[in-house]
């Protein structure tokens, strides 16, 4: 009786006593810890219909509630936007010719408020088609210089003049700073009262107090000695605000606000706030107003527009209906989805019970 085996000749030895294994066992025997055995105590959630349905309804209810609140509050926001880029056609033409860069051009824009704007009124300038977010533009600045240190790299192509005088502040962003001055007048009984406005407190506190610092010196003009204004500027940086020492130089709020580049080509920046005194204590009363604008900033060359905006603000921001609408829409969608899932669930359950019978 012979059996054939493949491959190597196997030795059969019986009986064998296995002692080797017992000796080596303790060393090779794996740990019995829950982690190693993948048996850690765990919460095992399943996305079943029953657990998800309340979620959908709750989300829906929450979104609807928030959305309605947002829409209601956004409705109370007043927003007056005036496009003045072509209002003074001579000025816009005048600015197209760059040889007139240092000549002044004044422009008045009249408008009427039909009802009072109550509360804090903010004055913005808005630009359209101005690509502040273009990469070449965004990187052309020197934060170190604005911190008061004497470095101005990364500012190409506005680092220094041909003769080597560095620009202060350097870079394309600073160079192209919005330089229209806009004053608001309230026309009351043929006399124009200038609406008092606040120049400061418009920028982030941290920007004003930490991120932007003037170079240290006994006075500002000496601090900026050896530097020159950017080519498009009318006056050097230490003359940006001659009335207020703390709003001059690099810490000038118009500069600070301009240096925070916008995310899109259409944007607005905070320019002034209405100071709430005298007849403007409650905001702007209804009536006729005039913007008197020193039209310096050319926009027609890049087919842009500029606006001046008067707006109030509530807890949910400005007059943007998007958030409210989005909340209402997603709330409705979530609720409807909840109903659909319920319907499917019930239908299937009926079928199942039918099957089970």
């Amino acid at each position: 009786m012979r059996r054939e085996r493949s491959g190597v000749n196997k030795q059969y030895s019986f009986p064998t006593v296995r002692t080797q294994g017992e000796e080596t066992r303790p060393s090779r025997c794996p740990d019995n810890s829950a982690f190693k055995q993948q048996k850690l105590p765990a919460w095992k959630p399943q996305l079943s219909t029953a657990t998800v349905l309340p979620g959908f309804f709750l989300t829906g209810a929450f979104c609807l509630a928030v959305g309605v609140c947002l829409i209601l509050s956004a409705n109370s926001v007043r927003d007056v936007q005036i496009d003045y880029s072509d209002k003074c056609s001579d000025c816009s033409k005048f600015r197209e010719n760059s040889s007139n860069w240092n000549k002044e051009c004044h422009c008045s824009v009249n408008f009427t408020l039909k009802e009072d704007i109550l509360g804090d009124v903010f004055m913005y300038y808005g630009l359209q088609n101005f690509y502040q977010n273009h990469r070449r533009y965004v990187i052309s600045r020197s934060d170190a210089q604005l911190l008061g240190r004497n470095v101005n790299s990364y500012c190409a192509p506005f680092t220094a003049y041909r003769n080597g005088t560095p620009m202060a502040p350097c870079g394309a962003i600073a160079n192209s700073m919005f330089n229209d001055t806009i004053d608001l007048f309230y026309n009351l009984n043929s006399s124009a009262i200038q609406v008092p406005v606040l120049k400061t407190g418009n920028s982030w506190w941290t920007d004003k107090n930490v991120k932007f610092r003037n170079p240290k010196s006994y006075n500002l003009s000496s601090a900026f000695a050896g530097t020159a204004r950017p080519p498009y500027w009318h006056k050097p940086v230490y003359l940006l605000d001659e009335e207020d020492e703390r709003n001059n130089g690099y810490v000038n709020e118009d500069l600070i606000i301009w240096m925070r580049v916008s995310a899109f080509a259409t944007f607005r920046n905070l320019y002034r706030r209405v100071k709430r005194i005298r007849q403007f204590a409650d905001g702007l009363p209804a009536g006729n107003y005039t913007f008197r604008i020193a039209y310096n900033f050319p926009v027609t060359k890049f087919k842009g527009r500029k606006h001046v905006i008067l707006s109030t603000v509530v807890w949910s921001g400005g007059s943007n209906p998007f958030l409210g609408i989005a909340y209402v829409v997603s709330g409705t969608a979530a609720t409807l989805t909840g109903f659909v899932i319920t319907a499917i669930h019930l239908k299937l359950r009926k079928k199942k019970t039918y099957f089970q019978k």
Binding site: M1, R2, A42, D207, A263, L270
Partner: protein, 918 residues
């Protein structure tokens, strides 16, 4: 960067991942191209190209247009390169490396007997363990213990079972004999003695002493110290078995065989002739002279070769017993004797002498002589020897088959033995229709005809039945088992002269594909590899796994995608050459069904999630280019760009890749059919990939345009101040990090404290980092653009509301999709999840089976439990089950077994297969 990508492409094995990567590479290049082209279209108007406020530098102006375009293209590539998740490779490698430790740590895969645990020689193949379609297994030593054992003997219809069966080891208390039937009468006693002596004498076993010094003495005193050696383990098993029944074969000395009988007396028999075994006769005989001078001829052999030569004895009883044993997968032998008179003996001796001395046709003449001598036997009884299957081998194979894996047994053994083992380990079932493709059959017909016949049989049946691959049960259709031997295989593999060489091969593959189990016997080691290669390279390119224990399996282990070595008795050659080594065959079940499944689920989620989160990450950046004049302006700060993949979102997914258990390990083990849910790369198919990519794009669009409309030329704060581009980017990034992390949280089904720690921890880390990053004027940086950006954003109410809304909106569709899919088209895995959940909730109201609501799954689950139960039954129990006629009255719960019996009318192979297992 690109070099990195390409080198990764070549060295990375993961099939679908590479395809996805190429898709993403195409997306990357097309994105960069689109943006470059659009940039120049956009810039064609001079007021946009160089407005007064944004002038170019001198060198920029002078640069050649094409050079500029090329640098722009490269800049876009750099900007978007995060879409090719390089960090994914690192994470995948780490996940594989660390994940493989769970395999080696697994206590259940540790073998107490040998003191061996699983070894992982490569961690590259972890997820392939969840994709196996073909398992090629060696038989001896892998399926079986390689260790024969005497199970019972039947003398004249009385069954004797050795008292203690203990895995090949002989125990002290071997005196008792378990009499199942009533004790035999006088003549029975005599026959019994003869039977035991026959077994003690009729063999070619040699005795080797363990200790050569006082071997014999020790041998007599203690039976343990001797070792029997034979070319056939069956003989050893028989001699050992008889020893346990009280008769010990001591040695062959000076042509005298000494045996120690039950009364501890030594009996001596003179060995006169050995009519040795050959595979045609399938029996062997010895002629001995007892001390009393009687001459006996003892013969043992396959029942088919003994029964025709028997003239006396309780043939019917013994035959039924033999058949019963054969059905149970035992190797049966019949024992018969005849008493020779001196005259008869001398005749026989003369005939033998002549035949042995013949110069021509000696074999033939010998055969004739044997034929003459071996006749007119008196039947004594039958033995049953078991090549013990490895513990739970049948269970394992059954589980693998239920998991949709085709199991092939490749063995060097001969067909009958192998077939018996295959029956025993449930590779072939009772109702499996066996197709033979053997040398014998090919001799009768031409190979061509045989193949075509077989394929006709197989295909005809399949054509009429639609295959339900997902039901978890393929018992509705006729099972086919194929038996092929080495010679036939080499004929098939041999290229034909007339040029149509692939023809047979294709036909053969077609047949194999339709067989649930294939047995290849008489395989040379290289042929094993050849078979593996044949399947591996067939047109579906299935993932193959080869498992074996010996040096002869090495070639096959190396050839298969995944090679597994059994750390067996035959050295570690196989284990050393394999990708994984396990102590026992049964561990394959957990390795594939649990670990493989987990690894696959984890890694597929990991890969898809990585692509997803990088799409979410980069697509807003792409969209932003349309708003910034295609100027390559980044949306996010550099720190965020760098750390996104490194620290904000990497650890939760790595941990998911290590810990996730979408169903519990026990369930996976209990329900092998769940393996089909992930078969054929189900989670990395194009549909899943496209879904993930679209989800990523959708989320990215939500982030970007949500934030865009939020910021759209309006005031986002409640104090009238304005936000800039970095706040916009930070808002998008915050939504992105939260969404992506929460998406993973939604996918996590197994929340240990580590998961909580990692997921919430990385979100907290993001916030803390952002606060810190924006909280200080960093002296070493030349820009301070992030200064207080994050805090200013958090101080604004609308930004909070926007973040919450955008996160919700980007997560809800995925939740909805999950719930709907679960409700309408649940996978088996989800049904199990539901069921277990349901069971937990209503444990008092329903029985566990009743709460499986789905009708489809209920059938398979119910049928699983009785099947499992019958596994644990002894084989005898099983037998009665099969034989019972009253199946139809069983409740329908037993549908599983029912189906088996219904088609038992098929060709009963077992009878002819097992009788020849000598």
């Amino acid at each position: 960067m690109l070099m990195e990508i390409f080198s990764c492409l070549f060295f990375f094995f993961f099939r679908s991942m590479n395809v996805f990567l190429i898709v993403y590479l195409c997306i990357l290049i097309s994105k960069a191209l689109i943006n470059t082209v659009l940039k120049y279209v956009w810039q064609s108007e001079p007021f946009r190209d160089e407005p007064w406020y944004n002038q170019k530098t001198e060198p920029e102006r002078k640069r050649n247009l094409f050079l500029r375009a090329f640098t722009d293209f490269l800049a876009f590539m750099v900007l978007f390169n995060y879409i090719i998740p390089v960090s994914m490779y690192v994470t995948v490698e780490m996940q594989k490396f660390l994940g493989s430790y769970f395999l080696t740590w697994d206590e259940e895969m540790f073998d107490e007997d040998t003191g061996e645990g699983p070894l992982v020689n490569t961690s590259d193949l972890n997820e392939e363990l969840g994709q196996i379609e073909y398992v090629f297994t060696d038989k001896t030593g892998t399926l079986t213990e390689n260790n024969m054992e005497f199970v019972e003997c039947c003398i004249e219809g009385h069954v004797y079972v050795p008292h203690v069966i203990c895995n090949g080891q002989i125990l002290h208390d071997c005196t008792g004999i378990d009499m199942i039937d009533s004790s035999p009468g006088g003549s029975g006693k005599e026959r019994e003695d003869l039977f035991f002596r026959a077994l003690c004498l009729c063999h070619t076993v040699q005795v080797k002493d363990d200790d050569s010094v006082d071997g014999l003495k020790k041998n007599q005193l203690s039976r343990r110290s001797c070792i029997y050696i034979s070319s056939s383990p069956d003989e050893v098993a028989l001699v050992e078995g008889i020893q346990r029944l009280g008769y010990t074969y001591l040695r062959l000395k000076d042509n005298f065989m000494e045996i120690l009988n039950r009364e501890n007396n030594i009996e001596k028999f003179e060995l006169l002739e050995v009519l040795s075994f050959d595979s045609v006769r399938r029996r062997m005989s010895v002629i001995v002279r007892s001390s009393t001078g009687d001459i006996f001829l003892f013969c043992k052999g396959a029942d088919s070769s003994i029964f025709p030569r028997v003239k006396e004895g309780k043939i019917d009883q013994i035959r039924s017993r033999v058949e019963r044993n054969a059905v149970e997968g035992l190797r049966t032998l019949c024992v018969a004797y005849k008493k020779l008179t001196a005259e008869e003996y001398s005749n026989a001796q003369k005939l033998l002498q002549n035949a042995k001395l013949a110069l021509q046709d000696r074999e033939k003449k010998l055969a004739e002589v044997y034929e003459k001598i071996e006749r007119d036997f008196i039947l004594l009884g039958a033995t049953a020897v078991e090549d013990r299957l490895q513990e739970k081998a049948a269970d394992t194979i059954e589980a693998l088959q239920k998991a949709g894996i085709k199991v092939w047994v490749l063995t060097g053994d001969k067909m009958e033995t192998a077939a018996a083992t295959c029956y025993a380990c449930k590779l072939f079932r009772r109702n499996t229709q066996i197709l033979e493709l053997t040398t014998k059959k090919i001799e009768e017909q031409s190979l061509h005809d045989v193949l075509f016949d077989l394929s006709k049989t197989v295909l005809r049946h399949n054509g009429s039945l639609t295959r339900d691959t997902f039901s978890g049960l393929s018992t509705d259709m006729q099972d086919y088992g194929l038996i092929i031997d080495g010679a036939a295989l080499s004929l098939i593999m041999k290229p034909r002269q007339d040029g149509s060489s692939g023809n047979y091969r294709e036909l053969f593959l077609e047949i194999c594909r339709n067989c649930s189990a294939v047995l290849c016997c008489r395989m040379a080691p290289l042929q094993k590899a050849q078979i593996v290669k044949l399947i591996k390279l067939s047109k579906e390119h299935p993932i193959t796994l080869a498992i074996g224990d010996g040096a002869n399996d090495v070639s096959m282990i190396l050839e298969a995608h995944v090679g597994i070595g059994i750390i067996g008795k035959e050295g570690r050659q196989a284990a050393r050459n394999s990708d994984y080594a396990i102590p026992k065959f049964k561990h394959l079940k957990k390795m594939l069904l649990v670990h493989g499944h987990f690894y696959y689920v984890r890694i597929s989620e990991l890969v898809q999630y990585f692509f997803y989160k990088n799409v979410c990450f980069i697509f807003p950046q792409f969209l932003y280019q349309f708003f910034c004049g295609f100027s390559q302006q980044t949306l996010y700060d550099t720190a965020y760009l760098t750390l996104y993949n490194i620290s904000f979102t990497s650890l939760p997914i790595l941990l998911y890749g290590l810990m996730e258990q979408h169903v519990s390990a026990d369930t996976l083990k209990r329900e092998p059919s769940l393996y089909r849910d992930v078969a054929k790369n189900a989670l990395l198919r194009w549909r899943a990939f496209i879904y993930w990519t679209f989800l990523g794009v959708f989320d990215a669009v939500v982030f970007f345009f949500g934030a865009y409309f939020l910021f759209d030329n309006t005031i986002v704060t409640s104090n009238g101040q304005m936000f800039g581009n970095w706040t916009f980017g930070t808002l998008v990034f915050t939504v992105l990090v939260f969404t992506v992390t929460l998406k993973l949280a939604l996918d996590t089904h197994y929340w240990t404290w580590i998961n909580h720690f990692m997921i919430w921890g990385s979100l907290v880390f993001y916030i803390v980092f952002s606060l810190l990053w924006g909280g200080i004027i960093w002296p070493f940086l030349n820009y301070q653009r992030m200064y207080y950006v994050f805090m200013q954003m958090l101080s604004s109410g609308p930004a909070w509301l926007g973040i919450i809304l955008l996160i919700t909106v980007s997560l809800l569709p995925d939740v909805l999709k999950k719930v709907l899919c679960r409700q309408l088209w649940p996978t088996a895995t989800e049904r199990i999840q539901n069921a277990s959940r349901h069971c937990r909730e209503h444990i008092s109201e329903f029985t566990p089976l009743a709460c499986l609501k789905s009708p489809r799954y209920r059938s398979s689950d119910c049928s699983n439990s009785p099947a499992r139960r019958s596994n644990s039954h002894s084989k005898k129990m099983m037998f009665t089950h099969w034989r019972g006629i009253d199946y139809s009255v069983l409740p329908s719960v037993f549908g599983y077994s029912n189906k088996h019996c219904r088609s038992s009318a098929g060709y009963r192979y077992s009878g002819s297969g097992l009788e020849t297992s000598v």
